[in-house]
């Protein structure tokens, strides 16, 4: 499992640790972890709806932060649950991300919902390159 939820970091909200063998995989894992906070079973989300996410940031941390923010934004603005992410990241002077995401509109009869994510926070937010693996720890405000 490319992500796990952690106890002991926050009482009111959700903390997860995501990992991937490269940046793209890390971001994908973090995206899935975010959606999985809201929906019990990601396999029940079809790929009917598409969304393009394009962002730039000066650091990898800011790039991941903005990426997760966008997933949360689309959940409210377009009522989208995103469960597939095709990501391309360019690490240059300015990091940029282009993502083709797919998912489905929220259907409470089909998708077993858990809790609503309000925001991604900077609280204990960290991205680390450990050589063979990239890791991120994120706390989501519930």
């Amino acid at each position: 499992m490319p992500y796990k939820y952690l106890e002991g970091f926050t009482s009111a909200d959700i903390c997860f640790e995501a990992s991937g063998k490269n940046l793209e995989e890390l971001f994908e894992s973090a995206g899935l972890a975010t959606t999985n906070t809201m929906v019990k079973n990601l396999k029940k989300i079809s790929s009917k709806e598409k969304a393009k996410i394009s962002i730039e940031a000066d650091t990898i941390e800011n790039l991941l932060f903005k990426f997760l923010e966008e997933i949360i934004f689309l959940k409210d603005a377009r009522r989208l649950l995103l469960s597939k992410f095709k990501i391309k990241i360019d690490k240059g002077k300015a990091h940029s991300l282009a993502c083709e995401a797919s998912g489905e509109k929220i259907n409470i009869k089909k998708h077993e919902m858990i809790v609503d994510v309000k925001a991604v926070t900077w609280h204990k937010f960290e991205v680390r390159n450990e050589g063979k693996v990239w890791r991120a720890r994120v706390i989501l405000d519930i």
């Binding site: 106890e7 009482s11 409470i108 858990i114 609280h123 680390r128 890791r135 405000d141």
Partner: protein
């Protein structure tokens, strides 16, 4: 490898009273004032150490006056602890910090009465809860029944509850029985991003999820602590009342997100304020960034008032339908509506002089006492009603504000129980289905949009509400009027 754990230092406490403790300024470099914690010894000893780290960080903020406070329901948050209060001298460089308000701007509580008794409601309880569950959408992705264009939504977030009453979603008397009369007048929708508008415009009239709820509650005679004030607030023995807890939904969340980013860009570079914790990002209140956020925050406050006003309207509709009686004839009057995530400009006497300060309350409730000029005439003799919510299993409290709160805590008291256990751990330990059955066996009928979400809200994940309330009562920052016990619950 992997991420390390955090080790937080436990401070030494100076005892002020059995329910008030101080952390001295020398605990952490940069503290401008001591931190003051309202807690029993038991709560103090069991407090998550992160709370002390956070409240002492708050004590470093420019312009903070007297103390960084933490209420007895305190638990770790972002920047500020939840249960955090800080008043800032805005005439002398005091800052505003979105972390001192929270992402859920004006998350708050509303309480309304009925003239119905427990015996009258019991036969209809399931029908009421099922109808409320349909009328007040809860959970992820829920949409409200009021449809706005973007322009209409911008108008509504500037007018708050007034917009609702003008459009037929409420009674005129509801405004007086809402903090700020349901409208912060400095709200400016042009300071809210398009993203914030898009996130929130379909969510007016929805409950949200997590610890948000709508409860039908009963006033057991043995739970009335102050008969005279209870009567003045419209409470009588065996009465059925309704309480609900929700906020500004995606709109407020996005405003918090937007301005946190904006403050992070300018805090150090432009204003020379060192960032100890990104979630404690701030800017001088009188700076362009500070003023823009304050105006946007007021829109968030108004949207939440409008949200709760719309929900109130739906509750009246449901009761009216089930009892085949107009809501007016069912005595469905609002007691009060309180915000517990907001920053307000309020006037206090400091060193013998009256001074306007900015009070941040993050998971804390305003608690104005008798005679306060901000209160409507109906509450001038008693002080304002204070509504503090417990867990779904234990019940909630109606209290009254006090002069002591105005003198000691910048007019503030607790807002809830305070969590002691992470959501992840609660999901591991508890099952929603078991909780449902347990509560049913105690006479509480619950309808939820999420079994997993319900498990996260197990009563055991919270502090003892009675202990928290007793601290506020003993400290005299809010006084008990009545404890309200749930019999029906709608959860997201």
């Amino acid at each position: 490898m992997g991420f390390g754990n955090f080790n937080f230092k436990k401070p030494e406490f100076r005892k002020i009273s059995d329910v008030a403790w101080e952390i001295d300024k020398n605990f952490k470099q940069g503290m401008r004032v001591p931190a003051r914690i309202f807690a029993s010894k038991k709560i103090l000893d069991q407090m998550d150490l992160q709370v002390y780290d956070q409240v002492t960080n708050v004590a470093t903020l420019p312009g903070i006056i007297r103390n960084a406070f933490c209420m007895p329901d305190g638990h770790s948050g972002y920047g500020f602890p939840i249960g955090g209060v800080a008043a800032m001298d805005i005439e002398n460089g005091g800052v505003i910090s979105p972390g001192g308000i929270g992402f859920d701007i004006n998350c708050g509580m509303r309480l309304l009465t009925t003239n119905l008794t427990y015996d009258q409601v019991k036969p209809h309880l399931k029908e009421l809860v099922n109808n409320l569950f349909n009328a007040v959408p809860a959970g992820v992705g829920s949409e409200g029944f009021v449809k706005f264009t973007k322009q209409q939504f911008r108008e509504a977030v500037e007018l708050g509850s007034e917009w609702c009453v003008e459009n037929g979603y409420g009674w005129k008397e509801d405004l007086e029985r809402t903090e700020e009369n349901g409208r912060m007048k400095g709200a400016d929708a042009s300071k809210c991003s398009n993203k914030a508008i898009e996130r929130g415009m379909n969510q007016v009239g929805t409950l949200g999820s997590g610890n948000h709820y709508l409860e039908i509650q009963v006033v057991k005679p043995e739970n009335i602590f102050d008969e005279a004030i209870a009567k003045q607030f419209g409470i009588f023995p065996n009465q059925i009342v309704i309480m609900f807890h929700c906020g500004s939904r995606g709109f407020g969340h996005q405003i918090g997100t937007d301005y946190l980013q904006s403050f992070l860009q300018v805090m150090e570079k432009k204003y020379g304020i060192k960032i100890l914790d990104k979630e404690l990002a701030c800017a001088p209140f009188n700076s362009p960034e500070g003023q823009d956020y304050f105006k946007a925050m007021q829109c968030g406050i108004n949207m939440s008032f409008a949200n709760r006003q719309t929900i109130l309207h739906r509750i009246r509709e449901v009761f009216s339908k089930v009892f085949k009686t107009p809501a007016e004839d069912l005595g469905m009057h609002q007691v009060y509506d309180v915000a517990h995530n907001a920053a307000k400009i309020e006037e206090y006497e400091l060193d013998g002089k009256k001074k306007k300060v900015l009070v941040h309350r993050k998971g804390a409730t305003r608690s104005f006492g008798p005679g306060n000029p901000e209160l409507p005439q109906i509450f001038k003799s008693t002080g304002q009603p204070v509504i503090i919510g417990g867990s779904m299993e234990t019940g909630s409290y109606l209290l009254v504000g006090t002069k002591t709160a105005e003198q000691e805590t910048f007019g503030s008291t607790a807002h809830g129980s305070g969590r002691t256990m992470s959501r992840t751990k609660a999901t591991r330990l508890f099952r929603g289905e078991t909780l449902l059955k347990d509560m049913a066996s105690h006479g509480i009928f619950v309808k939820t949009a999420s079994m997993s979400g319900l498990a996260e809200e197990a009563g055991a994940a919270y502090k003892d509400i009675d202990e928290v309330i007793n601290v506020t009562h003993t400290a005299d920052i809010s006084r008990k009027v009545v404890k309200l016990v749930p019999i029906g619950n709608v959860k997201g």
